[in-house]
């Protein structure tokens, strides 16, 4: 088996990194962050290797590793990667070093900070790779601790409130999911003879319609809080605003994707009949989220809050695409998960950098910054364009696929959601105008230094990926397509549902590619 134990290594390398960092003696503290960045770079080639070795056109799980973990409880150390999870793993490994490299402002308890980020990375990768529901839950829940620490120790004034709110909110969701997982495992034993949490085994279960509905409900709450789907989003602005830059980057970049990933990985394939029942509800909430998030973002006086609410809006698109249940919409959802991770991650980095310089995030305190920090302004504009979905950049591919894919099945919802694209242009470009253009009114804004070389370098991987995915999305779509199609086929095979023929998928892919 090629790639044997690469997946395990992807989880264990960051853990080992965290241990190494904690062992650095106190008097060599200046070494901590550089070493942390280096350690967090180790998984990048591992994930890159996976991406290169990944068999295109193959829908199933690859590089599968399976061994027993807790035999008595039927728990397996069962890992695998498919088109849905592969790019999310790559995204995670890229964002962590970026987040650590951009955390120069963290001056106290640096060892613990780096260790917590690395543990968070291990947990996130674990969630994406788990093919055992018990294992999945362990990682899903375990990441709460490093994230709560990151917000609670290194956040701004209201950090403790935000950390506790984040923790309790998301723990509430996963508690019900645990009940669902226990129920599924017991059904597995009843139908197939052994107590097991194997994801692949769960796919073979014969679940009645009402059982599916209950279980769908148990899972969907956990994921909807994580996404977050309106009206369960209230923890998000607090967490984002209080979190340090690295925390915001990983929270928006990867953590929120656990929700959308979970919906696509578990809710759709495991409970297809219930999925069809829930489409109207979730599509409605998704569209409300798109518009609500965008409108609230427009009126935010705080730059970081603006980006936080833009996440609510963007994630609404992903949920819409997921429940539109067409080949393109599902593909678009996964692409958009990656896109959002890159662009919003970059936006949070930018907000963090300007906060370090001016110690304010209020839009009203800025103005005319383009003249004092032109590189920064250019970077912001570029990322804003990517986030808005300017053709040629990554955001366009995802949003276009979602909208084109969703229209055949959910026309009204799609039209309403499309206004979110326009609103995104409003809040981001208006923010750009107020922050960067015009005359400098506040003298403090005259003294601000532009991006240093080091800071610019931090953006290089993100900008490169934004352009690559925008110009040549085929690299991503080839990986994603077969796996999302398999999800759709499963829904079609187990219910009477028939998805509309994928008409424009190739056209879109090659169209924006060429």
């Amino acid at each position: 088996m090629s790639g044997f134990s690469t997946l395990t290594a992807l989880i264990l390398v960051p853990v080992a990194g965290a241990v190494i960092v904690m062992l650095i003696p106190e008097r060599r503290r200046e070494l901590v962050r550089p070493l942390g960045v280096v350690l967090s770079l180790v998984p990048v080639p591992l994930a890159g290797g996976l991406f290169l070795a990944f068999e295109r056109g193959e829908a199933g799980f690859q590089f599968v590793e399976r061994s027993v973990w807790i035999e008595r409880l039927g728990v397996g150390w069962h890992l695998g990667v498919d088109g849905i999870s592969l790019l999310l793993v790559v995204l995670t490994t890229v964002l962590v070093p970026v987040a650590l490299a951009a955390s120069g402002a963290i001056e106290h308890r640096v060892r613990l900070f780096v260790a917590m980020n690395l543990l968070l990375e291990a947990g996130l990768i674990g969630v994406f790779l788990s093919l055992d529901l018990f294992l999945f839950f362990v990682f899903f829940e375990a990441i709460l601790i490093p994230m709560a620490f990151i917000i609670g120790i290194w956040g701004s004034e209201n950090r403790i409130y935000a950390a506790v709110k984040f923790f309790l909110y998301t723990a509430l969701g996963s508690a019900l999911m645990l009940a669902g997982i226990i129920a599924l495992a017991l059904i597995h034993r009843e139908q197939l003879g052994d107590l097991s949490f194997s994801y692949l085994g769960m796919l073979d279960l014969d679940l009645g319609h009402s059982t599916q509905r209950w279980l769908f409900g148990a899972f969907v709450v956990a994921f909807a809080i994580k996404v977050p789907v309106f009206p369960l989003h209230t923890w998000l602005p607090d967490a984002h605003v209080e979190a340090p830059t690295a925390g915001s980057v990983l929270l928006a970049g990867v953590l929120l994707k656990l929700g959308t990933y979970g919906l696509l990985r578990f809710n759709l394939p495991l409970f297809p009949e219930a999925t069809l029942d829930f489409v109207p509800l979730l599509a409605t909430l998704a569209v409300v989220g798109v518009i609500y998030g965008a409108v609230v973002a427009i009126v935010q006086p705080d730059l970081k809050k603006l980006v936080a609410y833009s996440s609510v809006s963007h994630l609404g698109f992903i949920v819409l695409g997921t429940f539109a249940l067409t080949s393109q919409s599902l593909e678009g959802s996964v692409v958009q998960m990656i896109n959002h991770g890159l662009t919003t991650g970059a936006l949070f980095l930018l907000v963090g950098m300007i906060y370090e310089r001016r110690h304010t995030k209020l839009i009203a305190d800025f103005g005319g910054l383009a003249s004092s920090m032109p590189v920064f302004a250019g970077m912001f504009l570029f990322i804003a364009f990517a986030s808005i979905g300017l053709p040629g950049l990554n955001g366009f591919v995802g949003e276009f696929l979602i909208l084109v894919g969703s229209y055949p099945t959910l026309p009204v919802y799609t039209v309403l959601a499309a206004t979110g694209v326009i609103l995104a242009a409003v809040y981001l470009l208006w923010a750009y105008e107020r922050v960067f253009t015009g005359e400098i009114t506040d003298p403090a804004n005259r003294q601000v230094s532009d991006l240093s070389i080091g800071e610019t370098l931090v953006f290089v991987p993100l900008v490169a990926l934004i352009i690559v995915l925008g110009v040549y999305p085929k690299v991503a779509l080839d990986v994603i397509g077969p796996s999302t199609d398999a999800v759709l086929e499963r829904v079609e095979a187990t219910t009477g549902y028939e998805a509309p023929e994928p008409g424009g998928s190739d056209l879109v892919a090659s169209g924006s590619g060429g």
Binding site: I70, E71, R72, L73, H108, F137, V138, F139, E141, A142, L144, I145, A148, F149, G152, I153, R159, I160, A163, V164, F167, L168, A171, L172, A175, L176, L178, A179, I182, A183, A185, L186
Partner: protein, 480 residues
């Protein structure tokens, strides 16, 4: 069948002998704490060996009874002894500084700890209601005295008095229940009761029902199940913190073992009825314990109420009957280690005396003592049931059994309570890590014996949480 097997009580004999030797040596010589240390270590080592022999015997010959059918020698009773021994070793180490501080009365304290363990070990082995009562009293009375052992402290006296009065009341309820069961069935031997109940029409069902109910209430007191928990916070707060962890652990281990022995041994036939009863008590315990723990401003009281909630989780597993027993024992064993460790940490921070231990005292502890803070945080996270700790594996098992037993509502209640419980467990972590960057940087000095307990408790909670396999294998035979 009714023979006398000394192996069946070997651990108890050794412990009693150890207690006597410690007291006698104290009378004739004036031993240093080092001598006490050696005597205690030797006694515990011998007990461990005896438990090993018992396990072997059960493996070879199967379960048996001795002393006229009053004492069981089966996997469960041996496991209970092993868990009690672990709790006692850790508890003694945690209390060591306090015991040494008693100077001339150190031997008393040591002997009381040993005698309490003897009582609860017998409770776990007892198959007769009268025997259970005697064992319960042996263990409980030793604990009452331990609660007040620091004579100088009024709070300790109050705690001891309260514990004694309410505990004696609970014992009386228990024995009254035993009397009613005897009235209904004509026996106090649980196996005999089971035999008489099978197939025969019970002439006084109400008497039997009340009798079993009172037995459950009496034992519910000992394990701090709601609504019989009201003594726990005052006692945990007032008693010397060195022994509180030990008290909390051993009383729960013995109490739950007795519940299992009596309910599944004597009344398996009516498991549906007592299962529902236990489920109600469990639901009350998890909700009340959690809600009241949230409101506490004292760490010891918080831990007391969290103990109420934990009793509820354990009962959740027990409600399902026999299927849940190995999971219940896993929970009891791992909780015991956590609670002894947590009180050892409280001792390290707040001192041996009972001056109160408000959350404020833990402010910025991560700075003052990274080790104690890390251990206490680990234990709180483990108690809250986060994955990768024994707390999660324990909760997972009791929830699975309860779901299997048809108590879905109880599982949901328990899960929601677990989320609410994050609030107070996390609060301690917040105080230790998220607050208090400024302020005094005085490093906390921690006694070596306590440091040892802390590292073992936290290490075990994580190691057995990640690799619970060996412990699960060991406990698997317990339910049969």
């Amino acid at each position: 069948m009714t023979g006398v097997s000394y192996l069946a009580v070997a651990p108890e004999i050794i412990l009693t002998a150890g207690a006597v030797v410690v007291l006698m040596v104290d009378v004739f010589a004036r031993p240093s704490s080092r001598v006490h240390g050696w005597l205690v270590s030797a006694t515990y080592a011998l007990v461990a060996i005896a438990i090993g022999f018992q396990w072997r015997r059960v493996d070879l010959d199967g379960p048996g009874v001795s002393f006229g059918g009053t004492l069981l020698l089966n996997h469960l009773s041996v496991t209970v002894r092993a868990i009690l021994l672990v709790a006692t070793v850790l508890g003694t180490a945690a209390a060591w500084r306090m015991l040494v501080g008693l100077r001339r009365r150190a031997a008393e304290g040591i002997a009381l700890i040993m005698v309490a363990t003897v009582g609860f070990m017998l409770m776990g082995a007892s198959a007769d209601l009268v025997m259970t009562f005697v064992a319960l009293e042996v263990g409980s009375i030793a604990l009452y005295v331990l609660a007040g052992i620091m004579r100088s402290s009024p709070a300790g006296d109050e705690a001891a008095m309260k514990y004694f009065l309410l505990g004696a009341f609970a014992s009386a309820i228990f024995i009254y229940g035993g009397a009613l069961v005897y009235a209904a069935t004509g026996s106090t031997d649980v196996n005999e009761i089971a035999a008489r109940l099978s197939g025969v029409h019970v002439t006084r069902p109400a008497v039997l029902l009340i009798g079993v109910g009172l037995i459950v209430v009496g034992l519910g007191f000992k394990v701090t199940a709601a609504p019989f928990h009201s003594w726990a916070p005052d006692v945990y707060q007032g008693a010397p913190s060195g022994v509180v962890g030990f008290m909390a652990a051993v009383a729960k281990i013995g109490g739950f073992a007795a519940l299992i022995n009596i309910l599944t041994g004597g009344f398996e036939r009516y498991s549906g009825a007592w299962g529902d009863g236990l489920a109600l008590i469990a639901a009350a315990s998890v909700t009340l314990g959690t809600l009241l723990a949230i409101q506490q401003s004292d760490v010891r009281r918080m831990l007391a109420y969290s103990g109420v909630a934990h009793a509820g989780f354990i009962l959740t597993g027990l409600a399902a009957g026999l299927v849940g027993i190995s999971g219940v024992m896993f929970y009891v064993a791992t909780y015991s280690v956590m609670v002894v460790g947590a009180f050892a940490a409280v001792t390290a921070v707040s001192g041996q005396a009972n001056t109160g231990s408000s959350f404020e005292e833990y402010r910025g502890l991560a700075r003052r003592s990274p080790v104690v803070a890390a251990v206490l945080a680990t234990l709180m996270i483990a108690m809250s049931g986060m994955p990768l700790t024994t707390g999660f594996i324990g909760k997972f098992q009791v929830f699975t059994s309860a779901w299997e037993g048809g108590y879905e509502w109880l599982v949901i209640t328990g899960l929601l309570a677990s989320v609410a419980a994050f609030f107070f467990y996390l609060r301690l972590v917040v105080v230790m890590y998220f607050r208090g960057d400024e302020g005094a940087e005085t490093t906390l000095v921690v006694a070596r014996s306590i440091r040892w307990v802390l590292v073992v408790a936290a290490g075990a909670s994580v190691a057995l949480g990640i690799f619970p396999g060996p412990l699960l294998d060991l406990l698997n035979g317990v339910g049969v």
